[in-house]
Symmetry: D2
Subunit: 362 residues, 4 copies
């Protein structure tokens, strides 16, 4: 089946195809009384919007969101919040040959195998355009967790990583790569531009940190906070790997290196919780938040749409070659940043509500 | 809340604590008419069973499963299958000091923060003992996907990886590490034994391959096959990272390197599907299986229970040090192998049933 | 929380308020390849549309549905189908006093108690206008069960019942009451008109029959076919009772009277299934369809919006009286008929897909 | 599929067949820290236990419940609570002929049609024995809603109703019928005994009232409190009808008769909520509790197992007659009383947790 809903109590569902009349999200389970207008959502969509630099697709969509329900006199009512974004810059003619042959790395063949046919225009439902709906829903989720601060950034493009010593969060929004290391950002200009000119593409690693998450969020065993985050991130287009905290690096540590020792909290801050001396765990133990920053790393593969010919087959099974024209991101991970942030917010909002459902006073 | 159920239509729920009278699983949604007895499940439990070598915990449990419902005259009836495994070798006295102080890396502090108190005996619900229930449920799942072949192995311990050139699947079950490279297996004997003697522990990487999965399984968008696998694997104790196909390595490839080119299927095998010339994608595109082997890599952190003292705090917030006595796996990833296989089977069985729900003839 | 989704595998979610810009439904899990356009949905909306006779509300909405996603070249793609109906005839000024005092029988007080405030315009989310979204979704559900014939009718208004001996299905659509007994229809004209002139309202009983349902649909134990139908029908505005088959009358029968005896099927029709000599059970046994017609009876209370003053309190807790002006149905059960049909279709489509998920060949 | 789980956040799943080794329930999402032992559950099972009078089945089961998980040192831990009841008095030989022919009114034919075969011993999974698991789970649910008082009673057997003027709640537990009217209880002795001697059976109506439910519980639109109650009650064996408040009688009232007028609360009790002058609505408006007592009426059909021969067919499709020997309740509605109470508790516990998930402070 087609499960287009995510979340347990704070849930959102998305609908829409790349080249249909509109895309949208329905947010259900949002608490009542929260101040909400389009202006709370639009900045996040603007951050994700294509066409803002030569390093992203030149498709130009205003991506203006409309709230169709669930808000009355500027406040959420507790009923479903319907969000709609009209598609305006559709050039379906660009996609003629995609109808006939399968683009390797794309969902084309898999969709045909599953559904018997597909909406081939711009990838249809499998297009990364759907992530705009997530970003809109994520903006609502942030209202539910006002004490949590979420930010993501690109830490690596095409194998070229930032230098942690130069990490500066204030740099993230001052370059087109969401890069916290200004020197890396400079290198990436040439790196990404070269790939674009070659008709090729690059992968990227995105890191996301949520601070202000109190200890105790997480729903063991099969809705653990880390399990939900893994599902959320792996559901984003082009994502092939997810790490919590040290991730795969932890597999190379010894137990005493990987431990996050604790000390008493002397200054009474942090709710009297212990102070952790390290955060290899990425803020999650046993599937439950520990009060430390929640840290996730996500691997984006290089954009599958490239101008370099690749062997493929047609729908009729005939050998062919395909190059994917159109307006594509040379590095899809860059615009993944606001999407990753949105998914983090959506998971945390859900887990917050789950936690108070079970663990409040009876 | 506490979500102890996994799956959409083929669902299983687990219950039980490390030192309670028993643990168990309830499998719901299993098709009727499948031949099933305890003998179909026991071999998988035996593979996971502790105490089989000095490289795993010396806790000795027979782990005998009983089927309490859902089977009549040797066949599944379509009603819930209740599986129970009694706990027999509980030494609760080993865990006295765990009641008082938090073991870093364990769920102790997080459970206290969430629930206000915890069953500290052997980690209670957060113990890896729960994975025996998954293995039992996974054995049932395999019956639903008889054409799928699943195997997992350890590819790396403590940073020491196998040599892919020496990969030999027939070796996996002939050493205590589920290692497909006999030379690595030899090295690991000393590596793991040394860690054990040091009172330390090691991380590991497990890889799992499912072949025979037809193209078309997967439920976009938020129950994508890769998203479900990520959730399933990340819900296993000690797992900190999940990769599909090339995973993080894909983030360092260019688009043309990462493409999985297709050619027509000349010999008519493989259901007439195209032949892929590579499998960077790990058998999944757009969240849907492509007919290639489904490949997942999983990072296990080193066992948190070590004999080397670590700074911590008591429940009362007093500074302390803790060493975790008891009988622990020096490398918990090793016994993760049958658990990973079980989760793969459980996800695939669910996706198979989901697929035919939506995509059969109307 | 606010659960605005119904169904297990064929699921629909609705959003929207009576006086917002639009209402809508998202249908998820619909099989691919079904022929679908607005023209398949509109007739059902027209049947439910207000303003068609003096016996229903004079609010005039064209209720034109737009398909925003999930259909490509006239066929469903297997992705979410987003349906939107714009609200055009909103007279929010009619509802000024409703903002201040609670209308007995309405959700006003309960919504305030739950959410702290409410969208009072036309009842907001609790308005029966939401049922248009159900009718639209139900039209899609019918495509999934082409062999099932569903029809509903009003069998009783204000205590005046039809004469079963005069039942004529062909009459149902030829009077404004969906009444299968032309003499009752005549009586009801005066009955309903009198109530309307009095500023009062009447209750009604609706019956719904689905024939062509094969034996075997139903998901015991907690998604039994009858349980799902009960939930579906009780979720409709103004419904206060649901019966399957003989319902409460069965509680007055003896076992031998209530039995539905079976005989062999001599003519080979009906898939070789037995012939039932009665249908007290309403086509469902043990929560599973028997192959007989599925029969449901639903009680609608009288419209709560009346012009006769009723004691109430204001939001500030001051004693008051309220009459509910505006344009209301004197008997809301009448327009309940297409809604009941839609819910029947939605439940059956879901159960059909559920059945084949579990009970197909492995 | 087979959905054996009920609830959204406070969830329970049941497993087990009439003649398997045991039956059980798993309760998930229960808040931590509640005092719980077998002694809290056993009285409810004893109330439902068969063999307590000649008016119920002579099957004698001790129905002793064991708690296998989720409780530590006498308190719930927030993890799954596994409850098991062993089956002890199984006389499978009684059911030989049931294997061959279908008992009208039972699930026999429907299960065969769905699953291809069935566990015919005592009805297998479709046996009312499963309701013991519900009663056990319901006892846990009551702990979550300590301020709610729930009681049910039989108001009608075989068409002979109690006299509301003689209603005396204190009588309910002093006769074998859970009858609040001592005169009716006397009449029913002969009525039920006669039916039993005739080898026949009688239907019944059960009424259930929950007081102390605050205004605001309920999850519109498709998990409305009344919708959930309807689903819960209709899922009980032999139930054919559910009414909320006046139910079908409301369909015969005029709007002004059916209104529940409100007055200010002068004495400050009831949380300052308005005082309702009537309760036609049964304590629910718009799917949300109003603070009035929640009232449900449930119709139980006569027990289908009777000693009077009924026409039927064999599994091979041959005409036959069947009488159902064994030890059956002449009026299954009587023992339905504790089951109805349990389902009420389970729905309310779930809705309480749902409410605080969404409507607490952000």
């Amino acid at each position: 089946m087609s499960f287009n809903t995510f979340g347990r109590v704070f849930r959102f569902s998305t609908w829409g195809e790349s080249h249909g009349p509109a895309i949208g999200a329905m947010v259900d389970g949002c608490p009542p009384g929260l101040s909400l207008s389009e202006a709370d959502i639009q900045p996040f969509l603007d951050k994700r919007r294509p066409g803002t630099s030569k390093f992203t697709t030149q498709r130009r969509e205003p991506d203006e969101v409309r709230i169709l329900s669930g808000v009355f006199e500027g406040r959420t009512t507790g009923t479903p919040i319907s969000l709609m974004i009209e598609n305006t810059d559709q050039r379906s003619k660009d996609y003629g040959e995609v109808a006939k042959a399968y683009r390797p790395g794309h969902a084309d063949y898999a969709y045909d195998a599953k559904y018997g046919f597909r909406d081939y225009r711009g990838g249809g439902r499998s297009s990364a355009r759907e992530t705009a709906s997530r970003v809109a829903a994520g903006a609502v989720a942030r209202l539910v967790i006002p004490d949590v601060d979420i930010f993501a950034y690109v830490s690596e493009i095409g194998g070229d990583a930032i230098d942690p010593a130069r990490f500066d969060a204030s740099e993230i929004d001052s370059n087109p790569f969401f890069c916290p290391d200004p020197e890396a950002a400079k290198r990436w200009e040439k790196l990404v531009d070269d790939a674009r000119k070659d008709g090729s593409s690059l992968g990227a690693v995105v890191e996301c940190v949520a601070s202000g998450v109190p200890a105790g969020w997480g729903a063991p065993l099969y809705a653990k906070l880390d399990s939900e985050l893994a599902a959320a991130m792996m559901s984003i287009n082009a994502v092939k790997g997810v790490e919590i905290g040290d991730g795969f690096a932890a597999a190379r540590l010894r137990g005493e290196q990987n431990a996050d020792p604790m000390r008493p909290n002397m200054d009474g801050g942090n709710d009297g919780n212990p102070v952790f001396l390290a955060n290899h765990a990425g803020g999650i133990a046993g599937g439950i938040s520990t009060g430390q920053p929640v840290k996730v790393r996500i691997a984006f593969k290089p954009t599958s749409s490239i101008l370099i010919p690749v062997e493929t087959v047609t729908r009729e099974g005939v050998a062919s070659e395909i190059i994917t024209k159109g307006r594509h991101d040379p590095c899809v991970g860059i615009r993944g940043v606001p999407v990753v942030e949105a998914m983090m917010a959506l998971v945390l909002a859900d887990q917050k509500l789950l936690h108070r459902a079970q663990c409040g006073e009876v």
